[in-house]
Amino acid sequence: MSNDRRKFLKVAGFATLAVTGSRALGAANLAPTPWLKGGGLEAKRWAMVIDLKKCHQQEGCTKCMDACHLEHNVPKIEIKKHEIKWIWKESFHHAFHEQEHEHTPESIKHSPIPVLCNHCDNPPCVRVCPTEATFKRESDGIVMMDWHRCIGCRYCVVGCPYGARSFNWEDPREHMDDITENFPTRMKGVVEKCTFCETRLRKGLPPACVEACEYGALTFGDLDDPDSEVRKLLESNYTIRRKPQLGTEPQVYYIV
């Protein structure tokens, strides 16, 4: 009897120790990564379709921008010239200058258009980068950035006809309330831009802006797949792109 109790106490004691011990050290284990085995989103050519009709029904909405900027530690800088932007609103007048004429109604001219990096098929930023810090991923067409390699020369900022690139004139960490821990920040002297959320795609998640837009204005998918949602939208709607005359082949399409 007493022998049993002793045994029981021993086992219970060790079990408690093991549980609390592993709890205390719980943080010091390798984080599980089930997505490594596959299950990421893959495509031959990623593209985005933005439905402006749906977008304009939500006046003053900034959900896509907020989600993106929170996810990627994009600082909030008040000074316009130092601002960092991955996805933002531009007036129709600025975004589609070549589409308007002298009789374009003022309401359309000033309507806000969500704009971001166009992940061009023929990206001028990639051509001008002297360190190949920005490059086009041949596997899926994403115009990527290797922030480790960026030397801050800003050729790409000049090269990009869409203003999609921002330069860190200041230490971005000084302009963040909260840092999202699973994504790095940038440092002073580095250029940054939208990456089509390649880290999320790898984990099987859609881009943060697409996920955040609950009105379905943003659609993301494979342009090479004839059954993809983006292709269906492109086939059933008239769409425009920003500055197509430049030959950059932008991959963000707008339903007007």
């Binding site: 010091a28 284990n29 390798l30 490594l36 596997s139 480790h148 790095p184 920040t185 940038r186």
Partner: protein, 128 residues
Amino acid sequence: MYDGGKIIAGLILFLILITFPIWWNIAGGTTDFEADPKIVTTEKSCIYEKEYMTTHHMDVLDDWRDRVVRDDVRAFHSDALGRDVEMSLSHTCMSCHPNKSEFCDECHNPMGVDPYCWDCHVEPKEGK
């Protein structure tokens, strides 16, 4: 040689002065340091053997960085662990070694090494 004595004396003095920091440190006994990076993980092994990691962790990180960012490869098969891990400083390395001040800094500081990882990557919060 004119003024040979002065020149040679000057040269010797110059050599003594320029190597002064070395003498100073030898005299002060600060040429060596004891580093004891504290390991808090419950994993049985690092992604490579400990000895290899001690001398080559910077090469591993360099290699991982290029493979992840440029080649879009995320999985690394660790023979030492016998499974795949994500090639990530913040997610993999720091999940086992969240004690940056007791682990990374333990050697980097006395060696005067200042890696710029943490200018961008977010270091784990070390709340105790």
